[in-house]
Subunit: 215 residues, 2 copies
Amino acid sequence: MASVKLIGNRPSPFVNRVQIALNLKSVDYDFLEETFGSKSELLLKSNPVHKKIPVLLHNDKPICESLIIVQYIDEVWASGPSILPSDPYDRAIARFWGAYIDDKELLGRHKESKKKLAAVDQFVGMLVLLEEVFVKCSEGKGLFCGDKIGYLDIALGGFLGWLKVAVELYDVKLLDEAKTPGLVGWAERFCSDDAVKDVIPKTEELLEFAKTVPA
Amino acid sequence: MASVKLIGNRPSPFVNRVQIALNLKSVDYDFLEETFGSKSELLLKSNPVHKKIPVLLHNDKPICESLIIVQYIDEVWASGPSILPSDPYDRAIARFWGAYIDDKELLGRHKESKKKLAAVDQFVGMLVLLEEVFVKCSEGKGLFCGDKIGYLDIALGGFLGWLKVAVELYDVKLLDEAKTPGLVGWAERFCSDDAVKDVIPKTEELLEFAKTVPA
């Protein structure tokens, strides 16, 4: 039987993406938890270029970079529900927005309030643009590419735990009914899916974790 | 008949990637040349997010980001020679290194010699690492994924015209027999392929172009 291991930790949105993809395909795996702030020998050996989680080990062969792993999972466990759209154009669009999301700077813990505001502004700008994408792509079906969780849902959805935490950390509601009404509903649907609900960490857990991350 | 148009310009390595992929698949296309320094209405309309070339228009639908376009071409013209490897693991590895190349800063025209040296160092570091990848992946067959041009050949090969120009602009040989012997041979093989040889601009053309780019 194929051996599947995931090197990661629970608070990482990038790791969460991979967990969701594995759940969608009903793949059993061992979760090899990394301690924040240190890097295991196995991680360094498996991802010598970036030294970052997540790494998927499939029959001991490492695959790195969360969205590349998600595509790999989709291709290897092809008999399960499709993650990438079947149409090449839709696939290109999904990849485009996935890369767009990963190209943005994450909200760090900025000490300076000016930097903090700029980071929040940029993030909200991204969400407003993705609201447009959502309205266009979902065609009223509730998720980015229809009525089933797919690539772009996973790419953005991995961050949903942290979006809620931002309310506490930044005093700002990143998803709100006024600016991003479609995404508010999408977030609820996404997080209540069986493949997702136990993956996205609870706000309290992330707040505890955030305290341990240096600003 | 399907209409294929490419918005780009000849000196862009990213545009060159798409031209090579289209040539490999024997796809006829119209080349809509952008003037450097200005952006056409069609470009702004087709890539409103990044406003960058290349953009592929297939039946008037735009696809952006060079490596996403290359994957699109591979999937749409699936009856031609494959660009991505057929094995999912090899595909993940090719995507990983493609993303790695695109994550690096390009050699700009730095006025400060310190910045120039740092940029050259980083670039040479990348090539030395890719030399290892080449030796491992090519298995003596001459190209990154065997004996036919594939995704990673295209991802790196698009830059080959500019690598030669760097000798003139930076007084440094980026590919040399001592540090990257495998890539030296690879570059020759790649550039002499029918799908490539008329795409990669000549050194003189790029030098002329470089004069028009502000430092």
